[in-house]
Symmetry: C2
């Protein structure tokens, strides 16, 4: 079975309080896609954050002395650094222009995923990641399932850099109804021997695929329809993808 990813064109600029589910249903209709059991909708973080009103006005932020110090070290705006700290559990690395953190949501990323671009406002405004992306994905899925009668999955994705490779790729930051990790431990290979790669980051593989279709999440198509995902849908969440701190060799 082929895997087909279709860009959902026609989603308007999303503002705080806008109904994402209705915007997506309209776009699906415009693109002549009828939802079926097993389909997955992949949504860019940005429109979820915008719908949830996660914009922050930087001049209203009061930086602590810790933020001021880190701002000096990295050459970043102290107010922005304060937001990065507020959104994070721990700073892993800092150098000019870059702060790598463990986000409060559990993943490691640059600058806590806080974004200046594509907001449509002046440099004083930035956009935080959704408060609870798993919950946002679940809410969207419930609305889309109710409207369509189909059993669906929803992923919320963002583009993240990698420690050892150039170029950002799409990764899952919110998961509902899509297996985040597919566990093959104990399964035999085609010759009856145990498999080498035993856990597949399926939600991240799909996030990367969908990001390719979004073009560039910051300029492009904010949602993608997926048909032909090769694993059975089931309840899941971002936490499946998060490595325990004890197992982290690179902190």
């Amino acid at each position: 079975v082929s895997l087909k990813l279709s860009p959902l064109t026609g989603i308007p600029d999303i503002q705080k309080g806008d109904g994402l589910a209705q915007a997506m249903l309209n776009a699906l209709s415009l693109n002549r896609i009828g939802l079926q059991d097993g389909d997955i909708l992949v949504v860019a973080q940005k429109i979820v954050s915008k719908a949830e009103g996660r914009l922050v006005y930087l001049p209203a932020v009061v930086p602590t002395s810790q933020a001021a110090g880190l701002a000096k070290e990295t050459g970043k705006d102290p107010q922005l650094v304060q937001l990065i700290l507020d959104e994070s559990r721990e700073v892993l690395r800092a150098r000019p222009g870059l702060i790598i953190v463990e986000h409060r949501l559990g993943f490691v990323c640059a600058n806590a995923g806080i974004d200046h671009s594509n907001i449509g406002l002046d440099e004083s405004w930035v956009l935080l990641l959704p408060e609870d992306p798993d919950a946002s994905a679940a809410q969207l899925r419930t609305a889309l399932e109710a409207a369509s009668g189909a059993r669906l999955g929803v992923l919320i994705v963002d583009s993240h850099g990698r420690a050892w490779r150039i170029g950002a790729i799409g990764m899952a930051i919110g998961v509902s109804g899509v297996p985040a990790v597919v566990d093959k431990r104990g399964d035999p290979d085609r010759y009856g021997r145990e498999l080498r790669v035993t856990q597949i980051g399926a939600a991240d593989e799909l996030a990367a695929a969908a990001s390719l279709v979004m073009g560039q999440a910051d300029e492009g198509i904010p949602a993608v329809h997926v048909r032909g995902f090769p694993y059975p849908l089931r309840e899941s969440g971002l936490s499946e993808l998060m490595r325990d701190r004890d197992a982290d060799l690179f902190r």
Copy 2:
């Protein structure tokens, strides 16, 4: 335009010296896919390595004292550790069951990508990565372009774990004709502001997408046909994706 990834069923067990291009052309025909300009073929590392005879018989390997020490530290077979060292520039981390290296090909991965499973031989044999995956991809592309008259891209992929996330995902290890990194630096966002994410790891995004369709590279479909890749094809190579050691914050 949709992105469509189709599994190439019907590729037989590949042995040393088998013609991969002909096996893929046969599978394309079996799956009723005619190659068109802009199509990409994604191939699992394993069948490339097998075709190139990269099998090694472990009992014939003589471990150095360095390998013996690392074997003791990690609980791994000393002969296997010797091969891991031979295939690597540097050991980054070692712990029981796991050796993280910078591979001689430039990327960071576990156990130098050396594989026991799906070889169809007893535990004495392991499979190394291709000698020069960019060259392997280019050779395959030349043959497929000659046979089809179409302008194509070829990716060779493997599944790699990540530092901070559970689950392996497909990543590019050999690239021909596919832009490995798409550089948007300086491009404006939809509101005319500079983009936040400016380099896209497009070949890795496609590798992840194709790995999803391969199911699990160790048990599944060893090649995938891609139509609708959203960026123009151009000459490229794996080195585009490799971060300089100086820019590596997590070594």
